[in-house]
C-alpha cells in the first residue's frame, strides 16, 4: 500500500505548531475536530497529535470557511468523496474476482 516511513501521515505535530502552520487558532482547530473534519491522535495524556496531511486538510478547510462554506457542508463533501473512493475500491475488487474466476488462482 503506502511506504512505511510515510512522513505525511505520521501524527506527530502538537496543536500549537499546527496553529502556527495553518494560521488557525487552537479553538478553531479543536472545533473542526468536534465537527469531524480532522482526526488527530492523542498522546497517553490526551494531547492532540496531527500529521502533515491533517495540516493540509486544515488549510483546505480554512480556505473553504473563508468562502463562507459551513463546516456541515465541508463534512458532506468529505463523506461524498469518501464514498466515491470506496466505490472505486469495490469495483477493483470485483474486477479482481472476475479475473480469478476466469483464470483461477495462480501462484505467482
Amino acid at each position: 500500500m503506502s511506504e512505511n516511513p510515510s512522513y505525511k501521515e505520521r501524527k506527530v505535530i502538537t496543536i500549537g505548531v499546527v496553529s502556527e502552520l495553518t494560521g488557525l487558532s487552537e479553538r478553531q482547530i479543536r472545533y473542526y475536530e468536534e465537527r469531524k473534519l480532522v482526526f488527530p491522535e492523542r498522546t497517553e495524556r490526551g494531547n492532540r497529535k496531527y500529521s502533515f496531511a491533517d495540516v493540509e486538510q486544515l488549510i483546505d478547510i480554512a480556505d473553504q470557511r473563508e468562502e463562507g462554506v459551513q463546516t456541515y457542508e465541508i463534512r458532506q463533501e468529505m463523506l461524498k468523496r469518501e464514498r466515491k473512493r470506496e466505490e472505486k475500491k469495490r469495483q477493483r475488487q470485483l474486477f479482481k474476482g472476475e479475473i480469478n474466476a476466469r483464470f483461477g488462482i495462480q501462484k505467482r
Copy 2:
C-alpha cells in the same frame, strides 16, 4: 533542489514526541544537541522542534552509542561526511565553470 513541502525536513516535532519516536530520554536528546549532533529549531518561546530527518539521525546516533561509539567520534564522522559532500559540490561547480568557459553562457 528539493520539493517545497519536504515533510522530512520540516522542524515541527516537539521533544516529547521525539523521545517516544526514538526511545531516547529527553536528557539524551538535549545532550546530543550540546555535542552538536542534532540541530533543532526553536519556537519563539524556546521550545525545541525537530524534523523527521532529525529523528532518523537520533536513531542512528542511538545505534552507534549502543556500540560504544562516543559522541565525539560520531561528530567527527559527521564532519568528515560533510566535507566529502562539500568537495563533490565544488567539483560539480568547477565542471560547470569549465563548460561555460568552452561554450559560453547560453540562454536556455
